[in-house]
Symmetry: C2
Amino acid sequence: MKTIKAATYPIHFNEEAYTNLSKLIDDNKYSTLFILVDENTFEHCYPKFISNLSTTKRIEVIEISSGEIHKNLETCMGVWNAITELGGDRKSLLITLGGGVITDLGGFVASCFKRGIDFVNIPTTLLSMVDASVGGKTGVDLGVLKNQIGLFANPEMVLVDTNYLATVTQREINSGTAEIIKYGITYDTNLFNQIKKDKGLGITDLIYRSIEIKNEVVLQDPKEQNLRKILNFGHTLGHAIESFYLESNDKENLTHGEAIAIGMVCESYISSKLLGFNMLNVNEIKEVILSIYDKTRLLKEDFSDIIELLKHDKKNINGQVNFVLLEAFEKCKLDCKVTEELLIESMDFYNA
Amino acid sequence: MKTIKAATYPIHFNEEAYTNLSKLIDDNKYSTLFILVDENTFEHCYPKFISNLSTTKRIEVIEISSGEIHKNLETCMGVWNAITELGGDRKSLLITLGGGVITDLGGFVASCFKRGIDFVNIPTTLLSMVDASVGGKTGVDLGVLKNQIGLFANPEMVLVDTNYLATVTQREINSGTAEIIKYGITYDTNLFNQIKKDKGLGITDLIYRSIEIKNEVVLQDPKEQNLRKILNFGHTLGHAIESFYLESNDKENLTHGEAIAIGMVCESYISSKLLGFNMLNVNEIKEVILSIYDKTRLLKEDFSDIIELLKHDKKNINGQVNFVLLEAFEKCKLDCKVTEELLIESMDFYNA
């Protein structure tokens, strides 16, 4: 598949990507390759990765525990200490092999080690392929607040090998599908219809189109001043819901996609009330989402806690929560304010 | 005094600097001002600062404990949590008011909070005025390894008010003087002679000239690929000595300047052996330094621990320690290798 050119780096696909990676490593005369994995990607992805890589460099594997709950500064310190003890220097290369936790955290670790070493991202989940592979967002959570600490930093290369998807669960595939639905709703109705009607477009094509879309958006607005905010559709309420379940001791966590899917239903409903977004489209979105995700029952008594978490959203200025809403498919309005009543009403709509 | 233009920001001096800062705050419509201080600068510098600032913005003071030992990620987490709890958003401004620990750590905290908020540095010690005010280096220590975690990030403005020097001890003044001596040796013999012969140039002039020099160097080589490495003269061995005293439980810590002063004597001696740097100059440098700093007795039995710490120097590639040495005053040679025997000999020379 054709390489996609992101801002400062290429995104290579499938088998030929490994040739490009091997060449990058040779050309840059790296001193050591550090491969960041979790216990799952070390077992299921690393063997394939290493058998495809052609290099004589020293390779050191650093393993962290899987899961969003480990996407924090303590884990970063562990990795920084490991790199230090293994003799990492400014000419080291960090290769991340995993889902969004690994690629986001790894990019942050690399960008801050001795004021920045090179890194390459190899997303192995659908979510990280379609979301984390473009845009330069790196970071970790602070407590339950998602991606509160981080920075913009681009990798030297992204390698997307869809064969890694064979190693993940259906629930993880669904988690990534939420982002593809988002690209469809906000940017490309054809893509939305593909998923809605399951027209049989292969997963690789869906991934490729999603990365193309995200890349087009990010190239126009790398630092999220304007256009890029459309990628937050569903994420404002979605992140708050995700954080709420993450900090609840008695509730099972939601995947990122499950939370964002709920967020998209609610924010579509809010759009219909504030911007006249067609209610037929709202129901269409809800229907597609409920065909993929089990319904989560949001408890009335939890609404205020969820709304409280909204105030930490990174888009907020002066305590004002800013939503991205829809006037129509492919037509977003940025920086919308929403009353607490309407937020509650939208969660009721999701529950109904 | 005339404003110095650094890469992307101005460095303003003394009284008129506050007018510029007040204007910056107005122009950028910041939501909240967070002032980062330690217990000393809160007591001795904050009252002057706040009486000079003209703004109606909400101001929140965040205090951390003073000292290099607190320049770490735990302190960063405390500050990030404080900013979060106080409702910091992307339009918040962080103003650092303190020495190098505050300005380096504060710049790092700001650059990573929600992927980066603006910050302004107000150095209050001689060292931070002549060193941390230019160059965009931010960061914290990892264990005893200095500035291991950090990144390049520029403030919106630097405000140098030499009146703050009235609040610091002579030992702290001496710590900063080591950097001025370094600028003299590596870049401007006139400046070195000023200090050597105490020609009575005022401290403000010494600071101004030092900042000019550092700015000239950094503008030519912002990311320390080549020329900027000259600013590491004395720092390779100096940092290792500083780290060694920091991690020793039974030895009093050295200030940064005290350690770097020893480093400069040793590296001057090494320069004479490897590059024919005139031994008369070596002795001249040693004499000036011993006229300012009490002699530290480096114990023979500690040499190997100090040399071991060298391997974590950020300039190292492939385990090779890279020194900046002198062919003459104002003439440095980069990336020099030094044998362990010569390192030992140089410390013996310092002790002699």
